[in-house]
Amino acid sequence: MTTGIGGEMDEAMMLRDAATRLFAGDCDWSDIEAMGLPLALLGEDQGGFGLDPVDALAIVRLAGATLVPWPVGETMVANAARAGAGQALLDGPATADDVPMLGGAIARSLLCAGALGRVLDLTIEHVNSREQFGRPLAKFQAVQHALAQLASEVAAASAAADHAAAAFARPADEAEIAVGVARVRIGEAVGIANGLAHQMHGAIGFTEEYQLHRYTTALWRWRDEYGGHPYWARKVGAAALAAGSAGYWPLVTAA
C-alpha cells in the first residue's frame, strides 16, 4: 500500500506490470538494469524511483513467483545500504558479500511469499485436474482440508512478508524484531506448505520433469539464508523475555 498519492500508486502499479512481463520471459541482467530495478529502493535524487519501499519490494515477490535467476532483491537492498552510507553503487548483480543481513532477510521473505503463492496455485490446479476413483482429487474432503491448511500457511507467510517489507523503512532495532518475526513464521510455513503440496501432488511432484520441485527446493534454501530459524527466533525470544510479563503485550503491538 502506498501513502495515498495517486501518482505514486500508479507508478507502483506500472512498475509491477512491467516487471511481471519482464520476469515472464528469459530475462538477462541487462534487462533488469534497463528497467532500473537495482536502484528501485533509492530516492529519485539518487537515480531511483522514489517509491514507498513496500511497493519497490513487491518486485521481489514477483521474482520469487517466477524464480528469476538473478539477485534482484539482494541488489536492491545492497544498493540502498550503499547509498545510505555514501558509497558507490554496485556495478552489476550483488554477490553475497554485498548484501546486509537484514536487507537480505527481507528480500528472502518476499521471495518465499512469491514462490509459496505458486506452490498453492500449482497444487490447486493439480487436485482439480487429477482424477482417482472416478473423480477429481478436489472432491475428497481430506484433500479439501489439506488444501485449506496449505492456503492458510501461504496466507500467513504472505502477511509475514508484508510485515518484513514494511520493516525496511523502520529504525534498525524495530526492524530486527519485525523481520525476525517474519522469518520465523515463513520458515515454518514453508515446511508445512511444501510437505502438503508434495503430498497432494503424489509421485509426479517428486519428478525432475514437473515444475513443483523448482519452487519447493528453492523455498527450502531461501528460508534459511540470511539467518535461519535459530538466529531470528533467539532475537525475538530475547526481546520478549526482556520485556517480561508486564511489557509483553506492548512489545507484540509494537512489533
Binding site: I124, A148, A182, R183, W232, V236, G237, S245, Y248
Partner: protein, 383 residues
Amino acid sequence: MSALAFPAPVETYATLKLRAEVRAFLAEQLGARTPMQRADSWSGFDRAFSRALGARGWLGMTWPKRYGGHERSAFERYVVVEETLAAGAPVAAHWIADRQSGPTLLKYGTEAQRAAVLPGVARGETVFCIGMSEPGSGSDLAATRTRAVRDGDHWRVTGTKLWTTGAHEADYMILFCRTSGTAADRQAGTSQLLVDLRNTQGVTIRPIIDLDGKHHFNEVHFEDAIIPIDALIGTEGEGWAQVMSELAFERSGPERFLSSIQLLIDLIGALQGAEDDASLLAVGRLTSHLVVLRRLSRGVAAMLEAGDNPTVHAAIVKDLGAVFEQSIPEIARTLVDIVPDAASTRSFAAVLQKTMWNAPSWSLRGGTREILRGIIARGLGLR
C-alpha cells in the same frame, strides 16, 4: 493468490491515541484482577465493567449515533477489543451483543428493533446469547428443528437450543429456526427471531456444566413460546444467509487467537532469569506466530471497514488462531517442570490447568476446524 491477500493494517493517530487511553482505563479497572481471573476473560461476567466500557463510548463503536453508537472506524473498535482481551478483562456481559447480535440487528433488524435494543447494547447494559446449535444440529446448522409457526399476530415457537453460552444471564437471544417446510428443506425456510428472554412465557433455561465444573453453557427449551410477529429479523425464509453473515462477525476478531494470552504472559514471567536456549527459541517462535496472526486479523478489520466480505479470510484467521492458542499450554509444559493444578498457589500452575482444560473448545466454538477448512476450500474453488 489474490483471493488470499490480506490488506495491510491501518495505524492512525486516532488508533494510537485510543490505545493509550484504553490501556490506562484497563490498568485502573483491572488492577486487582488475579492471573486466574484474567485467564477467564471470555467467561468473566461483570455488568459493572461492561457499563464502564459503554460509558467510555467503547461499545457499539462503529454504529450510527442515532442507535447509541459512536461512528468510529473498525480499526478503533479493533484496538478496544484486543486491548480488553489481552488484559484479561471480563467481557462476557457485552461480548456477544457488541460483536455479532448488534451488527446483525443493524444489518437486518427493523427500525423498531434497532431503536429499542441497540442503545442498551452500546451502554453495556443489554446482554445477548446466540440461539444456533441444537441437539441434532451442531456443525450441520441447516438441520435446525426448532420451529416457529405463524399464529395470528404472533409466532408459536417449539424446540431446543443447546450450548447456549450465557443464556441464564441474557436479556435477548437471536434465535435461528425454521419458519416453513421441514428439516429436509435444509437452508430454505429458515429465519431469525429476536427473543426477549425476560418477557417470554414458555422458555426454560437449564444449566449445562462444562468439564471445568463451570456453568457457561445452557439448554434453552421453547414450548409453545409466544413471540410477537414483529420479532422477525430481516426477511422470512432468508435466515440462512443472515446467520452466515452473523458468523462472519463471530469469526473475524482477535479473540480467535488470544484465548491463551494470559498463559503466554505468565510463561514469560516463569522463564525470566532462566533464559536458556530452548526458552528463547520457543518464546521467539510463539511471539512470531502471534505478531503475524495479529497482522492477519487487523487485515480482516480493514476488510470490514471497506465493506468487503471477510468470510474466507476470517475462517483462515480463526483456524490458524485456534491451532496457535491450543499449542501454548502444550509448549509451556515442555519449558516449565510443573503439574497443572487450578488449586495451586503458584499462579502459573493454576493458569496452566485452566488453559489446558479450556483449550479443546477453541477449535469447536464459532465453527469447528472442519467447518472452517470446508469454507476455505470453497473459497479456493474446490467445492
